[in-house]
Amino acid sequence: MFIIIVGGGKVGYYLTRELLASGHEVVLLEKDPRRAAEIAHEIGSVVLNRDGCEGKHLAEAGANRASIVTAVTGDDEDNLVVCQMAKHHFDVPRTIARVNSPRNEALFRKLGVDEVINPTRIALGAIEQDIPVHDLLHLAQLSTGELELVEAQIESDSPAAGHASRDLTLPDGCMLFVVIRGDVAQAVRPDTTFEPGDKLVALSRTDCQDDVRRMLIGERTEQPTA
């Protein structure tokens, strides 16, 4: 398969090496002359010292017969333009863009990039799995320092799930304020029944936060060890 890679950073460099090793035809476009020379020194003449955002350089690299154009520079805007030029100017069947801002992912797809790879989101997903959810989120400390505004996320196995507010006996000086369900916030009334997925905003005395946590969301899960 003939593949054009734009961007000779770490990703582009290793991608080129791997693809060459598995027998594909590859051209790598890198606009920085020094970086281009460096890579050419290591992996040979597949490197073109050209800006892949420019149509004529893509043409020179052979974009009209490429099966895949993949843009892996560090700049989202450059990766978008490379893929759009490849798609609309050269009818490349498959374009792949690296995108750094998770917010750009959907837009790139809508604008015709076939495959969008977002390292930030991949790392974020891996990190979020390690964050214990069975904990209170500390929103604000009130002036005296003895009271704190906290948020509890109700899960299906939380003691508060399925119970009405009036059935919960919170420690003295602690109270439930608001429940956020979906994106809607409503005041907690005695007959408000809590459901998994609810976020509860509560006022809690600093010294009884453990009790509040236990009553609303249950025992703390094991912290993952590093």
Binding site: C53, E77, L80, Q84, S101, R103, N104
Partner: protein
């Protein structure tokens, strides 16, 4: 009329001043606050520091209620990204991108983006100065594409 301008260079600042002077509601965005010194002392719009290719920055600047969006930074690719974000995600009805590379400008025009290309405009004007016919379409913003799809 509400306008958002990304990039406070000579063109961005000049357009912001002109629109503001005419009584329009203008917000200009630049990553560098020093760029705002280019604005006239009587500029009455808002100047926002931020990255105009960032959806959150544009939303905070009030882009969702804008009538016009001009992407006028120094970078063709940044302008292409910002303009398509404004058109497709923020649904701003009139969007124009400055793209100075004529090849890229032509490509985006065929993709339906309204594009202004300084290079083609100057080449056209200067060749007409020497008596050549020039390119009569050089100043067009691809009028058909100005309306949002």
């Amino acid at each position: 009329m509400r306008a958002i301008i990304v990039g406070c260079g000579r063109v961005g600042a000049g357009l912001a001043d002109a629109l503001s002077r005419d009584g329009h509601d203008v917000t200009i965005i630049d990553v560098n606050v020093r760029a705002f010194y280019r604005l006239n002392a009587d500029f009455r719009g808002q100047a926002v520091r931020g990255d105009g290719t960032d959806e959150d920055v544009l939303r905070r600047a009030g882009a969702t209620s804008a009538d016009y969006f001009f992407a006028l930074t120094e970078g063709d690719n940044r302008n292409a990204l910002a303009a398509q974000l404004a058109r497709d995600t923020l649904r701003i009805p009139h969007v124009v991108a400055k793209i100075n590379d004529p090849v890229r400008a032509a490509a985006y025009r065929t993709m339906g983006l309204a594009v202004i290309c300084r290079t083609s405009m100057m080449v056209d004007r200067l060749s007409r100065e020497t008596g050549l016919p020039g390119d009569p379409t050089a100043g067009d913003l691809a009028a058909a594409a100005v309306e949002a799809r």
